[in-house]
Symmetry: C2
Subunit: 343 residues, 2 copies
DNA sequence: AGACGTTTCGAAAACGTTATCGATATCGAT
DNA sequence: ATCGATATCGATAACGTTTTCGAAACGTCT
């Protein structure tokens, strides 16, 4: 069974050349065997497979994808691996099982250069050579036409661009704000999301609509930027909550911001929900285990990811997909909202 | 500013050849410019950079990593993207910021072949060509010496293998079991984890130790396999909970199993924690939001991931790292455990 | 003007793989 | 024995990039 060629290249990977040499055949023949293509004798095939087994050879994804046209790998590009994107990732991954595609998640967080446009870099670096298609989460730029199919989750503002999927931000924001209004709140603040994302703009829009419906005047002083980040929210929240006429409720554009508000409220000695009601958006896992458990608008993150993958596979198969898909958001009442305190 | 060569290759990616042609220089020159190497005139460099900008060229990660020796990308290999591995991933990713390494997460879940040994395949496919080092989560096989540095989280059983990191399974299991004993439980069942992982064996060991300390006889009938999966736990739980002398408490080897027990208990009409106490292990996000919120042994998942990354970077820099690192597990009491019902 | 060092550039090879296609071996039929 | 069809295999090129190294151009000094 063992060949007379030295079997163990202690350093470096086992390449197809090693296998070919050990099996006494040419490199292309080994390639044919491992890829199960027609045109190689049964005896040769058997011998090659034995050597492959013996040396522990596996084809290099990089080299083969450089030569092949498709890799059967789809990439999901995220800025960083935090709760939101990772919940989507779970959905994508679950939906990918059985489709014949493997999932590669790439964090394009740039630590050196400009924080914007990382997707174009990452996508360019991977597209066409390593991945057949991509799902981009909360893109920071509107993607130009790329060489591979792309689906964006929670898309960037602006017309054109790839197929997108998100949940009903306007409707969700209206529900969230209405929930607060129904609890008797009148001074309701809003922590904005990342200004370049459509979702952030739409949530502010929903907030305004709901105020208007209830006949509450919009007060620009009650709207601050939180950038969808807990850290960025802190200063804004501190300003809002130390005002003489501080709001009795805050609608944060996402849960991370809402958690930031909770933290600041705790620092300031404000009780939630007795003194201040807080509602978020997303329903990331941390929301349920926060103190107090956060009332929020739940996005079907898992489904968003799963449907994004399905859309991408459709595209890869050459089918058309809707330009935009929207899933509903649902109010989840926990313990961070309550009736407004008596004036 | 614009060149007279057609600037827009509508299909396919922009390659270094396109840039070279458009800039009127050779391919190697473009390579030198974009990599900032010495030996190219300032004027030439400027012209090339303009064309790069104009065409939106980015080097192909695949092609360059095939030629280069290092890619500055580290891979984290997981069987699937579920809560446990994804929490680790967050830790890894957070720790990677600022190290100069980017993180690529690869789900090696095989849908066709054998469910075991996926890491060897995936690792081989990526190692040495696409990633400089790897973190493997709950490996299913003991990795042989590979061509790149590897750190394993929650390692496979057996001697040798790569550097590993995990949390104190024996101590954690003892604490968990002791918690139940202190609540007055005497018939305490155990749902085992994945038998090939050291953590599963050590948790059973801790369970037994704790019983022995309390003078409770070990009953093999009360130990079943759950494989760390909710689905696999169901049958085992049903068997256990429909026995005439059913246990009053269950220590599940991880939270997924514990959640599976909760589900079966609910189906059977058992109240938790009044009729049955359940404790898990891991403290994944779902634990806090379960009904009832799950008492569990918290693993510092974020830190495990972060430290794994640090170890890997140390290895990549040529430094030595401890062969094994262990972090503590901590009891988190929520609402799924209570005093044993009166006999 | 000649010799020599320096700068700038490109030709060629290489990384590991796969696709194409032509060469050889084998075989059955005439 | 010759022919043609078929099976099997390998030489070669190609994917996009980087590295090495030699050639050419240029400037400086005697």
């Amino acid at each position: 069974m063992s060949t007379d060629v030295e079997p163990s290249p202690l350093l470096g990977r086992v390449t197809i050349t090693d296998v070919a040499r050990a099996a006494g055949v040419s490199v292309p023949t080994v390639s044919k065997v491992v890829n199960g293509r027609y045109g190689v004798a049964a005896a040769t095939s058997k011998r090659v497979l034995e050597v492959v087994e013996e040396l522990g050879y596996e084809t290099s994804l990089v080299a083969s994808s450089l030569r092949r046209r498709q890799t059967n790998v789809i990439g999901i590009l995220v800025a960083e691996f935090e709760s939101f994107s990772v919940e989507l990732l779970k959905g994508v991954s679950a939906a990918a099982a059985g489709t014949g595609y493997e999932v590669l998640a790439y964090s394009g967080l740039v630590t050196d250069g400009s924080p914007t446009g990382w997707e174009r870099r990452s996508l360019s670096r991977l597209a066409g050579t390593l991945i057949d298609g991509a799902i981009i989460v909360t893109p920071t730029v509107l993607m130009p036409t790329t060489s591979i199919p792309v689906v964006a989750i929670d898309p960037h503002t602006g017309p054109g661009g790839p197929s997108t999927i998100d949940s009903d931000s306007v409707g969700g924001a209206r529900s969230a704000t209405r929930h607060l209004i129904e609890l008797g709140h009148r001074r309701i603040a809003h922590i904005r999301g990342r200004g370049d994302l459509a979702s952030a703009q739409l949530r502010e829009e929903g907030y305004r609509q709901s105020l208007a419906e209830a006949g509450i005047a919009f007060d620009p002083e009650l709207v601050r930027d939180g950038g969808y980040k807990a850290a960025l929210t802190s200063d804004a929240a501190r300003e809002l909550l130390t005002r003489a006429d501080r709001p009795t409720a805050v609608f944060a554009a996402n849960d991370m911001s809402a958690l930031g508000v909770l933290k600041v409220a705790a620092e300031l000695g404000l009780r939630v929900p007795e003194d201040l009601s807080v509602i978020g958006f997303d329903d990331i896992p941390e929301a349920a285990s926060a103190t107090p458990p956060l009332t929020t608008m739940a996005q079907p993150l898992h489904d968003l990811g799963a449907q994004a993958l399905q859309m991408l596979v459709q595209l890869l198969d050459g089918h058309d997909v809707p330009n935009h898909v929207q899933l509903p958001a649902k109010l989840v009442v926990r313990a961070s909202t309550a009736a407004a305190p008596a004036a």
